[in-house]
């Protein structure tokens, strides 16, 4: 189920009132496993909302144009396009099935009438083109109305085909498939500000791709230890800086964020900046590390700040200050006393996302 929240101006001051504007999907208890939504992403303008589910499908919603007859409506979102992005695959070498669940979707900045997005499952990233067709040509010379080819010798006169309107059809077609570059499960993708490259991150490695080139990618971060028994940390999220195309960050399961500059070396194993908040000794517990594991990291639109989400809180960091965040928000502090049960039922491993609003507020 997807919830789209519309914000309304609150009573006074800076208080925002949040309320559900629209709920999409089935409300009843029995939801098919494949329908469970696994990722959500707005495009740059906010007109389109893409959702990916466990069954490998992508559903795109489009905001209706606001019209004068319903001035209070912020613009409802309705289904725009649905397509099957990923199918389950079988890896014969390891004898296991690769899930079709969509882990992340990222839109490309719009450059023409069509929309492009990247969607990824555990192993493969795909570039999809979503285009509209609302006209069709009639009066071909070489084809019948049925589409059958006409005998060229029978044609005695030429005519110019005319464009006629038709019901809007939205088509999605796979344009590129970026496969076989990740041994571990992909958790993030991020489009670069140069609009030509993007990165994909799995548990131990980050690769850099060019959108036009599918048979090659560059490994820019590798934290795999020589002996796997020394593994104590994994990559949990990664993102490019919104303005500096050589800068990106990645977060870890230990609650740290590393900022890397691709100009410094080909393999960015040494970070330029290291962000970590020291552990608060008074709230230390066996679960400290688990709840500090960062599940999402997002740069502000300005590029000056970044936001991280761990289990209980959201933190805002100033890129110029590495030793602690500038703001911390407890999202569900009431869970802190229940960490033990949450650990037992594995809920403590749940991951959450975060994002900035359009004006970085």
């Amino acid at each position: 189920m997807a919830g789209v929240a519309g914000g309304g101006g609150g009573g006074g001051g800076n208080d925002f009132q949040w309320c559900f504007s629209q709920v999409k999907g089935a409300i009843d208890e029995d939801v098919a496993e494949a329908d469970i939504i696994s990722t959500v992403e707005f495009n740059y303008s906010g007109d389109l909302l893409a959702t990916g589910d466990k069954g490998g499908r992508v559903v795109i919603f489009q905001r209706e144009q606001e019209n004068k007859s319903r001035p209070h409506s912020r613009g409802e979102y309705n289904v725009y396009s649905t397509f099957q992005s990923h199918e389950p695959e079988f890896d014969y070498l390891k004898s296991l099935e690769i899930e079709e669940k969509i882990n992340k979707i990222r839109w490309l900045p719009q450059q023409n009438a069509a929309h492009f997005l990247l969607s990824t499952n555990d192993k493969t990233i795909k570039l999809w083109k979503i285009s509209e067709r609302d006209k069709r040509a009639e009066g071909y010379n070489l084809k019948d109305e049925d589409g059958r080819l006409r005998d060229p010798f029978r044609i005695t006169s030429l005519r110019v085909p005319i464009l006629k309107p038709m019901d809007l059809m939205v088509e999605a077609s796979p344009r590129r498939i970026f496969a076989n570059a990740h041994t571990y499960h992909i958790n993030s993708i991020s489009v670069n500000s140069d609009h030509e490259t993007y990165l994909s991150a799995d548990d131990l490695r980050i690769n850099l791709w060019h959108l036009e080139i599918t048979d090659r990618s560059f490994n820019i971060v590798d934290i795999k230890p020589a002996n796997m028994e020394e593994l104590t940390e994994v990559i949990t999220a990664a993102e490019f800086h919104p303005h500096h195309c050589n800068v990106f960050v990645y977060s870890s399961s230990k609650g740290t964020i590393r900022l890397c500059d691709m100009r410094s070396s080909a393999l960015c194993d040494r970070h330029s900046k290291f962000f970590e908040e020291p552990e608060d000794p008074s709230s230390r517990s066996f679960f400290s590390e688990i709840i500090s594991s960062i599940s999402d990291v997002k740069f502000s639109h300005s590029g000056r700040y970044m936001m991280t989400r761990d289990y209980l809180s959201v933190k805002v960091w100033d890129l110029n200050m590495e030793n602690r965040p500038v703001e911390t928000y407890q999202v569900h502090e009431y869970l802190r006393s229940k960490l033990c049960s949450l650990y037992e039922n594995d809920c403590i491993f749940d991951k959450f996302e975060c994002c900035w609003n359009g004006s970085d507020r």
């Binding site: 390891k94 020394e230 049960s341």
Partner: protein, 232 residues
């Protein structure tokens, strides 16, 4: 453990044994997948390490970590797998929960190590040499070796990793196949069955003694079945 169970008030307290067991189970389950969820695995393993460190600290008692390391037990190291247990083995302390906890820990770790043994035997840590280190620093900075053997499950990853590597022969090293050696099963040896069973199995010797004829035919029957299976 009930839901809503409060955290131990004392952050320095050792975890309840049930918590430790749950963690071991989680680690086990994680490792069972062909492609484990690495984040889950790493978080559980690190949490287990914390618990173990805490338990070791508690077992050593309130005195300083520099005290002659109790881990220095002269328990015979029968095979290299057990050597990994050395740093974790603690003498029973007065606290009633501890015995149960520590024996549970040993059992759990052994279980994991048994699974490991199928793929790659632990790098034989030399516990005697590492004790002074463990005693002196008593800290987390000790080489991965000392703490890793208790949580060697991650070694499973290195060797099984995601592709089966050359060490396939090692998988079968510990399986005792002497029972199935051909000459023992040849028909001529059947007549000497009594002697054979006496050598291999003291139980059947006792049985044979009590009700000779009946048991002999039972055992003969069994042998035939086994021989028949082996021939296949």
């Amino acid at each position: 453990m009930e839901g809503g169970d409060p955290e131990p008030r004392d952050p320095g307290a050792a975890p309840a044994s049930s918590l430790f067991n749950i963690s071991m189970v989680k680690l086990h389950q994680s490792l069972r997948h062909v492609e484990p969820n690495l984040r889950h695995l790493v978080l559980v393993a690190n949490t287990l390490r914390r618990m173990q460190d805490q338990m070791q600290r508690e077992a050593r008692g309130p005195d300083s970590p520099e005290a002659p390391s109790v881990v220095d037990s002269p328990a015979p190291v029968s095979d290299s797998r057990d050597s990994g247990l050395e740093p974790c083995r603690q003498p029973p302390s007065d606290s009633q929960g501890d015995d149960l906890l520590l024996s549970t820990m040993d059992t759990s770790i052994s279980t994991i190590l048994e699974d490991l043994g199928q793929v790659e035997v632990l790098s034989p840590a030399r516990p005697e040499e590492e004790q002074p280190l463990a005693g002196a620093s008593g800290a987390r900075q000790e080489p991965a070796r000392t703490s890793a053997p208790c949580l060697g499950p991650l070694e499973l990853l290195s060797s099984a990793s995601y592709l089966l590597e050359d060490g396939l022969e090692d998988i079968f090293e510990d399986i005792d196949t002497s029972m199935y050696d051909c000459d023992l099963w040849s028909p001529t040896s059947l007549s000497g069955f009594k002697a054979f069973s006496g050598a291999e199995d003291s139980d059947s010797k006792a049985l044979a003694g009590a009700e000779d004829r009946l048991d002999m035919s039972d055992l003969d029957y069994l042998m035939d079945v086994l021989v028949g299976g082996h021939a296949l």
